[in-house]
Symmetry: D2
Subunit: 183 residues, 4 copies
Amino acid sequence: MANAPLFIPLILGTAREGRRSESVAQFMFQQMQALKGVETMMIDVRDYHLRGTDNSERMAVEKRFAKVVNEADGFVIVAPEYNHGYPGELKMLLDMAFDEYAGKPIGICGVSDGGLGGARMVEQLRLVAVALRTVPINQALYFSNIDKGIDPAFERRSIKFFKELLWYAEALKAQRKKSIFIS
Amino acid sequence: MANAPLFIPLILGTAREGRRSESVAQFMFQQMQALKGVETMMIDVRDYHLRGTDNSERMAVEKRFAKVVNEADGFVIVAPEYNHGYPGELKMLLDMAFDEYAGKPIGICGVSDGGLGGARMVEQLRLVAVALRTVPINQALYFSNIDKGIDPAFERRSIKFFKELLWYAEALKAQRKKSIFIS
Amino acid sequence: MANAPLFIPLILGTAREGRRSESVAQFMFQQMQALKGVETMMIDVRDYHLRGTDNSERMAVEKRFAKVVNEADGFVIVAPEYNHGYPGELKMLLDMAFDEYAGKPIGICGVSDGGLGGARMVEQLRLVAVALRTVPINQALYFSNIDKGIDPAFERRSIKFFKELLWYAEALKAQRKKSIFIS
Amino acid sequence: MANAPLFIPLILGTAREGRRSESVAQFMFQQMQALKGVETMMIDVRDYHLRGTDNSERMAVEKRFAKVVNEADGFVIVAPEYNHGYPGELKMLLDMAFDEYAGKPIGICGVSDGGLGGARMVEQLRLVAVALRTVPINQALYFSNIDKGIDPAFERRSIKFFKELLWYAEALKAQRKKSIFIS
């Protein structure tokens, strides 16, 4: 019997008008749709934006997000670096679940107009990933100078990224089935 | 002629309903109102919340925030730690200005239900502070176990915090007058 | 046939005379010796100290360290926080291997004279852990106010720490056997 | 009366044989020697290497280092990134002083064989800089792909780096004279 596919949603982590990260998210999404044994979906932070600050709206949105996180076997996040950190709207989204993340890997793609490809954001986000009880993988993709478009070399570079992500996704899914994550 | 007072706004960095950081912000605000030669105001992230994600709303809110940042001689931020990082709504606010921050100090107060007082959030926020061309001061206040209230010892502890903040605020204000910050 | 035991060395990450972390390392080592299905050994950074800066000494020491790392199924690190970072001698040791770390979990215990238990050091070290292609687990133990000794509550707290560490160690060992780690 | 010159030592932060950061340090040192109103010296971590781990050697080396730190008005650090962190020998050196750093700026140059110029190391080191009660400036120089040599564009890029460093060095020296740093 074939294994059930791994479900790896992609999170687009900026809601700003004119966001260049959207093209990177589309690029990564296409790569992910071509991966064997993987199902994916695009999660756009815009669709989880809180209009206000009261709890009733928050709880409804949290419930919607937590459901997807619960079904996931891992995550890809595509996000720009703003002032060396992650976008606020991405953090608001990630903070909307907790239990559902446990024991799942996260791969991060940084996006930047400059030459460092969001590397500082990736580091900060990795620490959040550990706090969420996920596994931030070693491979990352740094989309530098995004105003000039996506370097075609990222097709090749993404191979190692996905290999590591799926290596963990497979291992940890098997372990989650065998033994409840305790932490 | 007496020096003009230093203007040090306090930023309350969470918008969540039931936020415990509000009591810490009130506590710090009272200390700040008692400081000689200092003027302050409370900046509540709730008052800068973006209802949507289009640029017209953003630009109006950015303009309002940038005006306060421009007038400031330094900042105090009070914020909880969520999953080892800063609240998303705080980051969204901080990203709404840039030029106006240059050469001004920031003191950070972490708030947490646990025993570490938001120390990890403080570290991440310090790196954002450097990116914003501000000076993250060494002293920080870690309000641990906030569900049990504010330890009165923070009155004493805040003295060193404010001394360092004002030491920088005074030095850098003089330098900003003398020579344009270039970076 | 019974599974082979998991080999989880403990690294004591400071070489300083009078180091208080040694008592924490001893405490943790005793807990680890009592874990079923686990074999351990103490790695003291002092035993890998480089007398000079030439390559011949370095290569011999690297070879010795890499051998242990290669055999390990995971790691526990006990280290103090110095100026919010990790001790230099610990970093020198960790940098002495690379390939041998891939796909193994690391649990970190922070030690501090202050009240934050080395939490900032733990965060910095987690990022190094990701760079080394290991998995920094979520659980950490923060030994605060170590000049007053070790709180007996850490016996209970360490249970969750080890449960998570072994959860990953077991899962990743199985995966390393099944499929070469590629990254 | 002319102001006394600012004393800004440059710290070369790796002791490894074959270190490529040495050429970057030499490059920066030459720029610094040409700065008006600045005196400098090269501090090589190799000259502060501890042969053993006993306190008597440490105390002698600490005393020697603390003397230079005390006289300094700011610092430039040139260091490679090893596994996303700073070299252990650099951290061992920096931890050898404390009081002497207070209220002085630090500019950091990252060095890397890869394309990110040591950006992750710079971030970790900035947090250590804050812990040491120094001011990590916003500008940083990222020497990427150092195996291919130093891009001549760094002559121009270093202008902004030094402008910001001296802006702080001057402001904080005046303030240290006027008022003892308290923290």
